[in-house]
């Protein structure tokens, strides 16, 4: 499997920051596009990675090395998002720049427009479109993460993209 899996299995505490570095951005921006909110996405990204760390701590080496990390982490994220299982109040908070200004936007000025556009999609469509086209996952992976059949995921993506096209035409 992946080098990262191997490192996590060998020394979780040492390798975990690498996993955060590798997945943090994709997770945050995916969740940001799904929720349309910086605060929500940031909370959920942190909580997801913290839960992932705790879960990995209880797994044996074999299970960690065979884990498909990114889909697994996304499964945690979507479950947390659905259940609102947060315990932010129990964690120390970093006193750095925690507002929107601290976000390095890949598409300056466009971010809020996209937050807006994507809220025009149903939850299932938004999740599928973001996982497919923003995060770049395959249909089978998305089906595994969301628990929806592959055919349904394809239909969600198709309808979601059509809806986005309509929204963008209406903007002009």
């Amino acid at each position: 499997m992946d080098d990262l899996n191997q490192s996590l299995a060998e020394d979780l505490d040492h390798a975990f920051p690498l996993m955060v570095e590798r997945m943090g951005g994709r997770l945050y921006w995916g969740l940001r596009r799904m929720s349309g909110s910086h605060q929500e996405a940031e909370d959920l990204t942190q909580e997801t990675l913290i839960r992932a760390y705790r879960a990995l701590g209880g797994y044996d080496t074999g299970r960690i090395t065979s884990l498909r990390l990114e889909p697994w982490v996304w499964t945690i994220a979507l479950n947390l998002g659905r259940n609102h299982l947060r315990d932010r109040a129990r964690r120390p908070t970093f006193v750095g720049l925690m507002d929107d200004a601290a976000v390095s936007d890949p598409d300056l000025g466009e971010t809020h427009a996209w937050d807006q556009r994507l809220t025009g999609l149903s939850r299932a469509q938004r999740t599928a479109v973001v996982l497919r086209h923003v995060v770049g996952m395959g249909i089978e992976e998305i089906s595994g993460i969301t628990g929806r059949p592959a055919g349904t995921v394809k239909a969600d993506i198709h309808r979601g993209l059509n809806r986005l096209r309509t929204i963008m035409e209406e903007e002009q």
Binding site: E21, L49, Y53, F94
Partner: protein, 251 residues
């Protein structure tokens, strides 16, 4: 550009502070913040389990923390669930509603530290009392070394623990002068306690009730000083027909 291409460009680097937030949330690093106290500014460190240490805010506190725990330390806010109770816990000299994380100490050390939190403000107890309270009456010296290595002084009030001969003894948080200062601040009158120790007075009894106490117990302090009977030991007090106070359980 197709809509798919535009969507693919909507991803970027993680926001600032994410890695730190996750590291704090997992406990891979700990947070610290500064608070005022009766002995000056102190550094409080914490993780999701609670407060893990307290130290004087000297320049090398982070180095000392890391060499003791193997963990990094960054400036952070304590968890909002109990942050607002921290200043009161430091001033009152008891954890109160603030959770304390004692995972780095042994079960024996933890039980001694937990009993220490029960010593009321303005009172003191000898090391031998703590040993007896944790059902290890012979472990007075071991109790002394637990006090010397108390990770959360002030909130776990080891300054209220004194030598078995009644003298004030040493203090890990900056030395004995700070212990005297704290006891003064809490109204324990260390000058009086040192005078009693000089006269080998370790316990005091109330002839009206026939009960004897540690000299700082609020039961004996509610009587007039001149009416009290002084004792050198529990044996002498009991031989004189006195019985031990149920509140301070004198040793």
């Amino acid at each position: 550009m197709t809509i798919e291409d535009r969507l693919a460009r909507l991803i970027g680097p993680a926001p600032d502070g994410l890695a730190e937030g996750v590291a704090l949330g997992t406990g891979l690093i700990e947070g610290y913040d500064l608070y005022p106290s009766a002995v000056g500014t102190v550094v409080v460190t914490f993780n999701p389990e609670g407060v893990s240490s307290l130290d004087l805010a000297e320049s090398d506190f982070a180095t000392r923390f890391t060499s003791r725990t193997g963990k990094g330390l960054i400036r952070a806010e304590a968890p909002s669930a109990w942050r607002r109770h921290l200043p009161a816990a430091i001033e009152a000299g008891t954890p109160g509603r603030v959770p304390i994380d004692l995972r780095r100490v042994t079960p024996f050390q933890e039980s001694v530290l937990r009993v220490t939190t029960q010593i009321p403000r303005g009172e003191v107890r000898p090391y031998g009392w703590l040993a007896k309270e944790v059902h290890r009456p012979g472990a007075t010296r071991a109790v002394g070394s637990v006090m010397a290595r108390n990770p959360i002084p002030l909130m776990i009030p080891c300054h209220r623990v004194v030598r078995s001969d009644g003298h004030m003894g040493n203090y890990s948080l900056g030395g004995p002068h700070l212990k005297l200062h704290l006891l003064e601040h809490e109204g324990a009158d260390p000058g009086r306690l040192e005078r009693l120790a000089e006269g080998q007075v370790r316990l005091q009894g109330d002839p009206a009730t026939g009960v004897f106490c540690h000299p700082t117990c609020h039961v004996i302090r509610s009587t007039s000083e001149s009416g009290r009977v002084d004792f050198r030991s529990t044996e002498v007090a009991e031989a004189s027909g006195y019985r031990p106070c149920h509140i301070c359980r004198p040793v």
